[in-house]
């Protein structure tokens, strides 16, 4: 086939040979290609991860890390799969955050901040230091969400923390020892289950299906699929497409 057909493996070798930077991973120095994420750079350096890696796309929260940049006292946090290496950065990973999850029956709960605080009493210890917000790799207003829960506005809080990926960095930084990922999960579920308006059209369709409204039509389609694909192809091409 054509020469511009790409054979492109994820291997960083593909981009090696241009510019390199120096990074320090838990105190050890490595020369790695510039432009890679911390995760890919460490793999290039010879690491094969078991912990501290998951989806590799910023969704699972497995690759939390902290780092400092040269000449800067600030302790920064991020995801190893999303953060690009910087010359002179010093890095440590946090592949696990110790945290008990309280067990509850969602059916027995109510959308009541008092109940939430009963399960997570440490919420009341928030001292509004904002360390959680600064640590969040998603850029969420974590402290404001905690305060919003304390004010009793679960709907607003659920919206504020919807993009949480449960990396645990806020919990590691929190002097009040709040278990944010589990707390926020409960708040979101209470909103989704009890406060968001129900989708009546979904319920209606479920009822129709249980009543067998579509059985005959589906029987026919399955039959055609097995015996007369050409007829099915025709139906497919002639079907109306919603604009």
């Amino acid at each position: 086939m054509s020469k511009s057909r790409q054979v492109i493996v994820e291997s960083p070798e593909a981009v090696v040979g241009k510019k390199f930077v120096t990074i320090y991973y838990m105190g050890k120095k490595y020369r790695v290609p510039a432009g890679l994420t911390v995760m890919k750079a460490l793999e290039y350096a010879g690491y094969r991860f078991i912990r501290g890696v998951g989806c590799r796309g910023g969704f699972c929260g497995a690759c939390s890390m902290a780092y400092r940049l040269p000449g800067d006292y600030k302790l920064r946090t991020g995801l190893a799969c999303q953060t690009v290496v910087v010359d002179g950065m010093i890095i440590a990973q946090f592949p696990y955050t110790p945290m008990h999850k309280p067990r509850y029956r969602i059916d027995d709960m109510k959308p009541d901040a008092g109940l939430v605080i009963k399960l997570f009493p440490e919420v009341t210890r928030c001292i509004e230091c904002n360390a959680c917000t600064k640590a969040c790799p998603q850029g969420l207003e974590v402290m404001d969400a905690i305060q919003t829960i304390l004010r009793g506005d679960l709907a607003r809080a659920a919206d504020m923390v919807f993009d949480c990926i449960a990396c645990g960095l806020c919990s590691l930084r929190c002097p009040a020892e709040i278990r944010h990922p589990h707390l926020f999960q409960l708040v979101r579920r209470l909103y989704g289950k009890y406060m968001a308006p129900k989708a009546k059209h979904v319920e209606e369709r479920v009822r129709e299906i249980l009543e067998g409204k579509y059985d005959e039509e589906l029987d026919k389609l399955v039959e055609l699929a097995k015996t007369n694909v050409e007829a099915l192809k025709k139906m497919y091409m002639e079907r109306e497409i919603e604009k």
């Binding site: 998951g54 969602i106 989708a199 479920v206 589906l218």
Partner: protein
């Protein structure tokens, strides 16, 4: 955090200059013949060098991707004679292998169907929830609007799959769909809704109705974390970093009776005996078929296919892989990651270096991917600073069409992913190229998720659900049908498992007899003993390191 270099900024001007004109343009819907021609010419599924006939097992002679053949024509990781099966570590009713959405749904529905939570074990390679499920952004399909019906959903899915799907499975998929949405809503999933509770439903490639239910662009994450929270609430035992490396079988009946697990951190094995084993191990993206980068999570190495094949499961459609049309092509740090189809659903154009559209953006995925590969191969692509080829995805159009703020509100993950690389997608287009996304085929199941042999008989004691299975999507999956697949068939697996548990009075015996038989076949074929499977993890270590690697601590 640099953003676009000057040479790309110059090329972006072309995209901006043609935007107004393109908005007026209506792209033609391709006929089935035109689609076929495009796909046959350009899609990796149709390249001669990417596949070969299998030499071993139930599907001997069938054509599969090379990387799959390598895994199936391979020796087991363990030596069956060295494994002590006399001590059972976990003796349970149900073993769930895998840690994604199908595993969670299967576990919950087994519990709802009266399997004791204490009698279930989930064994997974990474953490519970580290799965492709959390990376699914665009949505989940279900025909629940007045102008839609399960029958239309059937037709869309079947046509999108090139009429190669297994009809009974498609029927189950579309019929259960609205029920699944309702179940998830009741669990507390925060779907995007209007103030009155109506679901906000988007268009998706190959779907003739707007039926994609979303939770911003974190749909899979939201569904996964809610189901996971519920599994945690039941206190089910979850063995993390302990993938299954082999199934166990009863030497007398041949039924599956548990699995051999391997602790990735200590190296020791663990034995689970179960009345039912549910395979929910997901797909094969990390095998990098045909050399493509992938959107998949770190553990997507087709372990379930390997284990099931050794007990005689029929594989189907393993000659087909889904390349998502729009993977990230630049910057290098996030190459291969997904740019959700929701972007095209919301109106973003695909644009070549000349500023022209070249395909109706909402054709099925294989068609759009083929068109992008064609543009690059014929010299109308953009060459990136790292030497890859790509086309533009004109994302700022989304806010222009749907109103300012749409991107930040409905595509926060996309916005964030690019912002971290210094690219503001509300103002700048992005560079995209197809990326390995989904295992269309897999283990053949029936609508109750029983795993089938080539002759259609059940492999007793073994169920499978989700990406590891084949037949639901034929040769090409539609957007929004994978989150639906894992929940619909995960649920069905849980219910079927409970039924089997109820009917099975005593626990089966365990052995590795089937592995020994497979090994005899490998021996006959002269397969080198160094080739072993399952693979468990990809290896991205630098060549310069591996060239000097000495293994001393083992």
């Amino acid at each position: 955090m640099i953003g676009y270099p000057p040479e790309l900024r110059e090329l972006i001007k072309v995209v901006e200059e043609t935007r107004e004109e393109r908005m007026e343009q209506v792209m033609k819907r391709l006929s089935l013949e035109e689609r076929d021609e495009l796909v046959h010419r350009w899609h990796p599924d149709y390249r001669k060098d990417t596949k070969r006939p299998l030499r071993i097992g139930p599907n001997k002679g069938e054509i599969v991707y090379n990387e799959i053949a390598d895994l199936l024509e391979a020796w087991p990781a363990e030596d069956p004679d060295e494994v002590d099966l006399s001590k059972i570590d976990y003796d349970v009713d149900v073993l769930v292998i895998g840690g994604g959405g199908a595993a969670a749904a299967a576990t919950l529905w087994a519990i709802y169907s009266d399997v004791e939570p204490d009698n279930i074990v989930i064994a997974t390679k990474l953490r519970f929830g580290d799965a492709n499920t959390v990376k699914a952004q665009g949505g989940i399909q279900a025909a629940d609007r007045p102008n839609d019906s399960p029958a239309i959903h059937f037709l869309d899915t079947f046509g999108g799959g090139h009429f190669a799907n297994k009809p009974e499975l498609v029927r189950a998929l579309v019929t259960d769909a609205p029920f699944i949405i309702k179940w998830l809503e009741d669990l507390g999933v925060m779907f995007d809704k209007t103030g009155e509770g109506e679901m906000i439903e988007n268009a998706g490639g190959g779907a003739s109705r707007k039926r994609l239910h979303a939770a911003r662009d974190y749909t899979g994450l939201e569904i996964m974390r809610v189901m996971r929270d519920e599994v945690w609430n039941y206190g089910v035992r979850i063995l993390e970093f302990q993938p299954a490396i082999e199934l166990l079988t009863d030497p007398e009946t041949g039924e599956v009776s548990g699995a051999l697990l391997w602790n990735m951190e200590t190296g020791e094995y663990t034995i689970v005996r179960s009345k039912v084993t549910i395979l929910t191990t997901g797909g094969f993206g990390r095998l990098h078929l045909a050399g493509f980068p992938t959107t998949n999570h770190y553990g997507a190495t087709a372990d379930g296919i390997v284990m099931a094949y050794r007990v005689g499961a029929n594989l189907r459609d393993m000659d087909s892989a889904q390349f998502h049309p729009t993977g990230v092509a630049w910057p290098e740090a996030i190459v291969g990651e997904l740019i959700t189809e929701k972007c095209r659903g919301l109106g973003a154009h695909l644009v070549n270096v000349e500023g022209r559209r070249f395909i109706r953006e909402l054709e099925p995925r294989d068609v759009v991917a083929s068109a992008i590969i064609r543009e690059c191969a014929e010299g109308r692509g953009v060459v990136t600073p790292t030497g890859r080829c790509a086309v533009w995805l004109d994302l700022p159009l989304i806010d222009i069409i749907n109103g300012p703020g749409t991107i930040k509100r409905y595509l926060p993950a996309m916005y964030r992913q690019f912002m971290r690389q210094g690219i503001d997608i509300t103002r700048e287009p992005v560079l995209t190229y197809p990326t390995l996304h989904y295992q269309n085929g897999g283990i053949e199941i029936d609508p109750y998720t029983h795993v089938l042999r080539p002759d259609g008989s059940w492999i007793k004691g073994l169920l499978a659900a989700g990406e590891v299975t084949g037949g639901v999507h034929g040769k090409n999956r539609l957007m929004g049908n994978s989150l639906l697949d894992i929940t619909v068939f995960g649920r069905r697996a849980g219910i079927t498992a409970a039924k089997i548990v109820g009917e099975k009075a005593s626990k089966p015996k365990i052995s590795l007899a089937h592995v020994k038989r497979y090994m005899a076949e490998l021996e006959k074929l002269g397969i080198p003993r160094t080739r072993r499977a399952p693979k468990i993890l990809p290896d991205y270590r630098g060549k310069h390191v591996l060239e000097r690697y000495i293994n001393i601590l083992y």
